[in-house]
Amino acid sequence: MTVTEDRAETAPKAEVGQARRRKEDQRLITGRTKWTDNIQLPGMLHLAMVRSPFAHARITNIDVEAAKASPNVVSVLTGADVADEQGGLPNAWPITPDQVTPNHPSIAVDRVTFAGEIVAVVVARSAAAARDAVELVDVDYEELPAALDLKEAAEDKVLAHPDLGTNKSALWVFDSETAGSGSGVDAAIEAARDGGIVIEREYRQQRLIPAFMEPRSCVVDPTGDQIVVWTATQIPHILRFLMAAVLGYPESKIRVIAPDVGGGFGGKLQTTPEEWITFMAARRLGKPCKYTESRSESLIAAHHGRDQWQKLTLSAEKDGTVTGLKVELLADLGSYVALMGGGVPVLGAFMYNSIYKFPAYQFNCQTVLTNKTWTDAYRGAGRPEATFAIERIMDELAAEVGVDPMAIREQNWITHEEFPFTSVAGLEYDSGNYEAATEKAKKMFGYDALRAEQEQRRASEDPVQLGIGISTFTEMCGLAPSRILGALDYGAGGWEHASVRMLPTGKVEVLTGSSAHGQGHETAWSQIVADRLGVPFEDVEVLHGDTQIAHKGMDTYGSRSLVVGGEAVIKAADKVIEKAKVIAAHLLEASVDDLEFSGGRFGVKGTDQGLAMAEIALATFAAHNLPDGVEASLDSDATFDPVSFSYPHGTHLCAVEIDTETGAVAMRKYVAVDDIGTIVNPLIVEGQVHGGLVQGIAQALWEEAVHDDAGTLVSASFVDYLVPTAADTISFDTAHTTSPSTTNTLGTKGVGEAGCIASTPAVVNAVVDAIRHFGVNDVQMPCTPARVYKAIHQQDQGGETPTPGGAAPHFDEADVADRSAGATDGAAAQAGDHQ
């Protein structure tokens, strides 16, 4: 008895679930961060890029003499110089066998395909000298017509790559009838046309920019046996593999290090021309080379996100029970097919049906090449688009049926008794409880009271109207089961690797292939391992982001780190325990079966004899007394490949106030109740949710990448591209319900993207809800005052007293009418931001 009592006292209280402060933060916030750009090497040279001002042009001549003669310039490289060695930047995910994929040179050779593409590279002894010399490179272009508008490009009016003969890259189709996971959608729609409800809508996913805090930077040191690459990337392991594969250099001779990385949001899930160029320059010159981009280079040339037209047809019975959903997407790839490329919209293919019981479903995605910056993953990648579309059109269905939008959801969603549930897209949702999350959210939100206030404002024709937006979302995260990725023709697997090393002093080193760039892996992994091995939190050191230390991995994206990478860590820790158990039994002269492991101590049942993990680690190190045939090591590796995705869900409620006289949108209240399964660290989760919410709200209200009619990105600075600050948002009320995932040990689900996926439709639904009585059923994102005002007055052509254009330039018809029109629309957004 006493023994167990002591045990209870000494047993550390569970780390998982504690709101630990992030152990990495003290260093990160006290100026001891090691960004790639901080790296200084002896004799290091600096790169600067000459970029095309034209969206589409033939390069007729490049005169580099003046630049070469400029002080401290070592070399100037053009596409012609490296044409033979540079190969093409990879597309890891050809979504169809016949995908049309233009070759993607890191330096344009004879033709530029978007404004900002690199045409020459200056290498100099200082960054300043390189930038100065860039201005001396004289490039002659022969302008070509540019394919800019997505819809026109889809009609092949102007070709982004004339040699390819078409802008259509690939058509990807999922049909529940052919897949056997549901019935035919066209039949359902036809049936609904007679007596039922058919709702057809087209939504716009504007072009966004990941806008990570740390601009991209890359340092390559070729002076050792191995070429060492430091780069601000989310994917050091994938980069190493692809550099070797594309540049024909032995993988064993390349070491990639992702030091502290300042955010990515998908924007650093890429192999970039800049990385390729720095690598080639360093190899040619035999000296360390560094390239760090400017902010506007980052906004112009780092990949963009979203940019889709979403055509939806929803069929339902008269009472609002959904019978079918057909999705037709146009996705803008930009001028090249990026690393994930067309795979991004395809990641949404299984999510449009969301939490609703559609018997029939069809998804068609046409990817299109244009002469704009190439697009790729941006926080949520495919799933925010899906969630936005379905949550918007469910509101439209509610309006059509004439019921509360929450009622239409309750009528159609999967109830908690029905889990595990196989969706019409063929995915098995392991767990969830939409009723519970919604109940909690409505209580926190004061749903009924706000609805009442809305009624009252409608009645009193209050110039400030209230709108309530709902988003009951789910997402698939934890990328990804390798089998599924294989079935989708993705170029790699979705496993993750981890190692746990027991040091003689009892300290623990955890190596993870999932390389963090701000998520707090060091802290969360330490909590998990501390619990697993029963060692103090402080004794666990998490190492990552260097292919020489954490040699295997699939890196960090798609909310996969905890559910895949974390599970690998657990499996490795369990192997350590198994190895230790044998040695403990030997040292305790007991049978393995008589041992019990708890609180970091192997005890012999029914006695007070036992050995702590640290003691066994030391004994193993000494190796003086090990059982025959047992290795003198407790260190263990594990590679975990998930059997399925994890499906976090939640209910987000948003209330906005709209000044119907100015179109200004002000957030009134935001409630987010997320079910992300077991929570390892509530503090980190809170941070992820808040950041995600702001990013999703920003798409709804502020952010848009705008190109002018010549294809120049006119939102190429943070003056015009409106990343919100804390001052622009409100305080969020967040809470959680918990239905543990059944597909991993801890029951965790991903949280990295949840907030970003759920919030956008909640906000836009609220905006539309506030002004629906003006006959409005959509406002295009970002919902700037100009667009809201235009929507309100679409019937009465600007109201009795139209605003004089001169007094409010952003209200000019032209600006407002042409929603893709350049900076003037940006100006509208600014005005909105300044309300």
Partner: protein, 252 residues
């Protein structure tokens, strides 16, 4: 981007037509522009433009692609490239003249294509700028038509008058709007003043003083009344404060 402007020159259509055919004097009237060579219907020239911190020198060529004496219409196609790689500018200008009771109404249709940094940072205000430029252009043109060739600098000297003491007061949104077309001094000085909060142009209390020295056109200065209008209160507050400061410094 298409721009349309109409202005009236107080001279007979013939005088105006001939004036317009003297490309040097016409181009010389365009702020920042210098014609370096004329060969029949072709001409070469440079145009210096400053947009806040971005300074461009467009070297380019132009051609009269059409000269229609009867219809009193000519079409000029001009293309220029910044010698520091900051982008290109092209303009297809169609000018048509009609007699309106002795005076001449000139209708100018410009198809403007701008690439690179100026397009990135300045596109939102190009239309407003071009209106202001045309104001200067016409003023100069009137001189040309009435009393022969001008000194290109003259126009800018106007634009570069020092800040009047009432600079602050005159710079409300309405005032800025009106100054953008008429009263240049306040416009440009107000402009440079409000640079600090509103635009990338660094604070230079009396920037245009320098501009009289070099013959470049400071779009920063030209743009700022418009920016002040777009960016609203904060900008103007800052501007008021600055102008007041300048006035105060000047006094003693």
């Amino acid at each position: 981007m298409e721009l349309t402007h109409t202005f009236t020159v107080p001279a007979s259509i013939e005088t105006t037509w001939s004036a317009f055919n003297d490309i040097e004097s016409v181009a010389g009237c365009f702020p920042g522009a210098v014609v370096t060579g004329v060969d029949g219907d072709d001409f070469t020239g440079t145009c210096k433009v400053k947009l806040g911190p971005v300074a461009m020198v467009y070297n380019g060529t132009g051609t009269f692609v059409e000269k229609n004496e009867e219809a009193k219409r000519f079409v000029v196609n001009a293309k220029g490239k910044d010698k520091r790689g900051n982008g290109t500018a092209g303009a297809l200008v169609t000018a048509t003249m009609t007699d309106v009771g002795g005076a001449t109404e000139v209708n100018v249709l410009t198809e403007l294509t701008i690439t690179g940094k100026p397009a990135q940072f300045g596109r939102g205000v190009i239309e407003d700028i071009s209106n202001k430029l045309l104001g200067q252009f016409v003023a100069c043109l009137e001189k040309t038509v009435n009393d022969g060739p001008p000194e290109a600098a003259e126009v800018l000297t106007d634009a570069a008058a020092p800040v009047p003491d009432d600079g602050a007061g005159a710079a409300g949104p309405a005032a800025a709007d009106e100054t953008a077309t008429s009263s240049d001094p306040v416009a440009s000085s107000a402009a440079s003043g409000s640079a600090a909060p509103a635009a990338p142009t660094p604070i230079r209390p009396v920037p245009n003083r320098q501009h009289t020295a070099d013959d470049s056109l400071d779009l920063g200065a030209t743009v700022l009344p418009i920016l002040a209008r777009t960016y609203g209160a904060q900008a103007l507050a800052g501007l008021g404060l600055l102008a007041l400061l300048i006035w105060w410094i000047r006094r003693d």
